[in-house]
Amino acid sequence: MITVSNLTKSYGKNRGVNDISFSVPEGQIVGFLGPNGAGKTTTMNIITGYLSADTGKVEIAGIDMQKTPIEAKRHIGYLPEQPPLYHAMTVNEYLDFVYDLKEIKIDDRKSHISEICGNLGLADVRSRVIGHLSKGYKQRVGFAQALLGDPDVLILDEPTIGLDPRQIVEIRNVIKEMGKQRTIILSTHILPEVSAVCERVLVISNGVIVADDNPENLTSNLKGNRTQIIRVAGSSDEVQTLISNISGVSSVKPLGKMEPESIDFLVENESGVDIRKPLFYELSKAGYPLLMLRPQNDSLEDIFLQLTEEGK
């Protein structure tokens, strides 16, 4: 549905995007992950035809963005980083304007706009002036604008930024719902968002794609060793020696006292070995009760740091 080949874009001497290629099949939700300034927004701006690339090609539904931009743009709904809103207009006026601007050919304008407003929880604010709305509502109006005309492709630049936690969950659900019939690229630097919403992750760093996989694979492929944080009631040195003697454990690091009369350790094991059971039995045999065992599951964050550091 979206094919990007050999995209390069420079700003002066800096390469904003450097020879990026990927394609997204119909109906896939792709997360564009990367630190600030990695080239996410630039890439999205090129895909939507807002910027032109120095070299390379973008095809939307087989239509070349460079050669026939008008036709290609009909397939895209775009929510930029800052929603493109006219603050003096009411929500209704604005959506009416966008409907005309995009030359949408859905017969029933009223029910189409109402349906989108309903899905996004905008029904109550439709007659209010956009400038007076809260940030969360503005973001949703921007979202509504992108959804007008039922485009096949949605490009969302940090769609949940500035929303409160409840709204974030709502918007994510909307995105997932939309993704059933549409192809979506969304950018974010919030990692849980990727695992929550996306089927595939493109990690971009310094204008280059450094990883392209689904979130689960990305986690298991790149993370050979698993780590657990454990809390044990006992003295530091003895417990450390005890744990490091268990077969399969590759390293033990004391983390300090988090709770009275106990000590926390970071235990790393060799890949493919489950050390939880031996750990439990050994500690209990030696009379050191195990108070907590928690696998470190923020591993996507580690991977992200690992990948983007490598890129530098």
């Binding site: 701006n45 032109s52 008008i70 743009k73 930029p80 493109p84 966008v98 005309d100 601007l101 995009k102």
Partner: protein, 239 residues
């Protein structure tokens, strides 16, 4: 194009700008009409149209400063440029919305010939000629203002920039005339100046000479600057 025209035209009147432009302009013009045509008992509209042209230099920037600058600032250009419309359609939609506000102002000035008609009589050729002339020159001015506003996201710079261009064009003619009169400027260069001279051409119109080449000239100026504006917009996309 229609959607953009409608939005921009409406925006002039949801903000204060449309009202400020029309009320300040019409106030000054009506004052002139009162002093010259009523107190001075003049039946000619030539003077007030020349005066209108002079004031136009100062009020047109109010009209055009926000045209593109505001979109760039608010990032709404991202909506316009990623919508399935050409940059020509965007430029034309915005240009015609400004021209339409100018048209609203002109509609109010219809009272002048009506007043003259009721209280004496007036020269129809002069009135028609002046209206056609002022519309074409207004369009040329607005196209220059639109062009300047496409080059900056700062409305103040857009306003001062177009004001500077208008005043420069005005002064250039006076300076050229001065040097020509003192024999410094060769005749063929003066001819070029007279050809591109907005005010020189306009004085033909106020005298009642509505030459086709003058109208063609203003329409060409307008087309030229609108074309340049689309190039500026395209250039921005290249980052």
């Amino acid at each position: 194009m229609q959607a953009i025209f409608k939005r921009d035209f409406g925006a002039y009147f949801t903000s204060a700008i449309g009202y400020v432009y029309i009320s300040s302009y019409i106030l000054v013009l009506n004052l002139y009409f009162y002093l010259v045509n009523i107190l001075g008992a003049s039946m000619s509209l030539a003077g007030i149209f020349s005066f209108m042209l002079l004031v136009m230099m100062f009020v047109t920037p109010i009209l055009t400063m926000r045209v593109f600058s505001e979109d760039f600032k608010q990032k709404t250009d991202q909506l316009l440029l990623t919508a399935p419309v050409t940059s020509t359609a965007i430029v034309l939609g915005k240009f015609f919305s400004s021209l339409a506000v100018f048209g609203c102002l002109l509609a109010l000035t219809i009272l002048w010939p009506i007043a003259l008609y009721i209280f004496g009589g007036f020269n129809l050729d002069e009135v028609v000629g002046n209206y056609i002339g002022i519309i074409s020159i207004g369009a040329a001015y607005i196209s220059i203002g639109v062009f300047v506003s496409a080059m900056t996201e700062n409305q103040v710079i857009a306003a001062i920039g177009s004001l500077a261009i208008f005043i420069a064009l005005y002064i250039l003619e006076i300076v050229a005339l001065f040097f020509y009169a003192s024999g410094v400027l060769p005749t063929f260069i003066m001819r070029i100046f007279m050809f591109i001279s907005i005010f020189g051409r306009y004085s033909d119109i106020t005298r009642g000479l509505l030459a086709l080449d003058t109208i063609v000239f203003f329409v060409s100026v307008c087309a030229f600057f609108l074309f340049l504006t689309t190039r500026v917009i395209e250039k921005r996309r290249k980052g």
